[in-house]
Symmetry: C2
Subunit: 209 residues, 2 copies
Amino acid sequence: MEIAIPLYDRFTALDAVGPYEVLWRLPGATVRWVGVQARPYATDRGLKLVAEATLDDVPAPDVIVVPGGTGTRDALGDERLVEWIRAADATSTWTTSVCTGALLLGAAGVLDGLRATTHWAYIDALSDYGAEPASERVVRQGKVITSAGVSSGIDMALTLAAEIAGDDIAQAIQLRIEYDPAPPFDSGSVAKAPERIRELARSPSPTPA
Amino acid sequence: MEIAIPLYDRFTALDAVGPYEVLWRLPGATVRWVGVQARPYATDRGLKLVAEATLDDVPAPDVIVVPGGTGTRDALGDERLVEWIRAADATSTWTTSVCTGALLLGAAGVLDGLRATTHWAYIDALSDYGAEPASERVVRQGKVITSAGVSSGIDMALTLAAEIAGDDIAQAIQLRIEYDPAPPFDSGSVAKAPERIRELARSPSPTPA
């Protein structure tokens, strides 16, 4: 089972690494990190992850995981990336996204007519691609799974792991990565965060991206 | 505020990227990715993250975040890394670890006499370093914060973010990364996972590392 994660400049590291940490543990899985070029790609804030293959090297993966990031807007204009997603989706078993990666799925035509989710700050943009925005953490529509902002990719990947390998394997992976979340606050969604926190999170500073 | 994350071969990606995704959003924060050499370091399963500076380039960071991984055992034998942790801890404001990164703190003498935690499969090893093993998700002892396996670094970093910048900033960061976890199962700790899942997670296959 070949799992492809396409990188682009200023993607968000956790969008990609959360699902990676779950999915590489699936029996028989190989994760391929790909990009328009095979080179290191910088995340939102400096850290670089290496795409070791080009998009052309991995034309027909079984699973696609498209991350979001502050660079999504520019990536939407890169027809090589969007066309790869379109073509890969045509033969994939699962097509998934994290955060604003959903907009890239949208640009590739994958979300037309489907319910879908993305980062809360970009949820309305999904309608530009014919999708029905759904403020949920993980939205499955047939073989297409979209998930909410940044950290939601872990939940999405565990859901996907269960679909691929069964509940027991997914649960064993959850235990392996000790995913028993205990955030010190309960402000992780717009529905739960107080208004002053929502305002602070919306302001460009001090918490960019 | 300089935050250093030391890499070594076969570290676990999420151990490092979880805290990064929280801490780079702190006002005035700069994250430095460091290694014995400045080069890409491979994670448990192929993905490479780039250390852009050497340990010597960043001798006195304000915050240290030491990740774990299947390579921790070898890293424990690398005196350059262990000595850097020891020296950096002498002047740090905060010294932290995720997963088996705690064993590296232990080898550097940081945990002597302290309560500490690590990945559940390695919790007993903490006593080798004079620490008192605590099966908790995040353990703070003065300026030293250790956290449990892999995904726990997100919770640890939000705790640390609140200490550094206050609860409101930490909560705004939580909302930015939409950390409103909703795992599809409740098997993320040894206390919660059924026995058959614990057995599966302990077996070297199908869920290595």
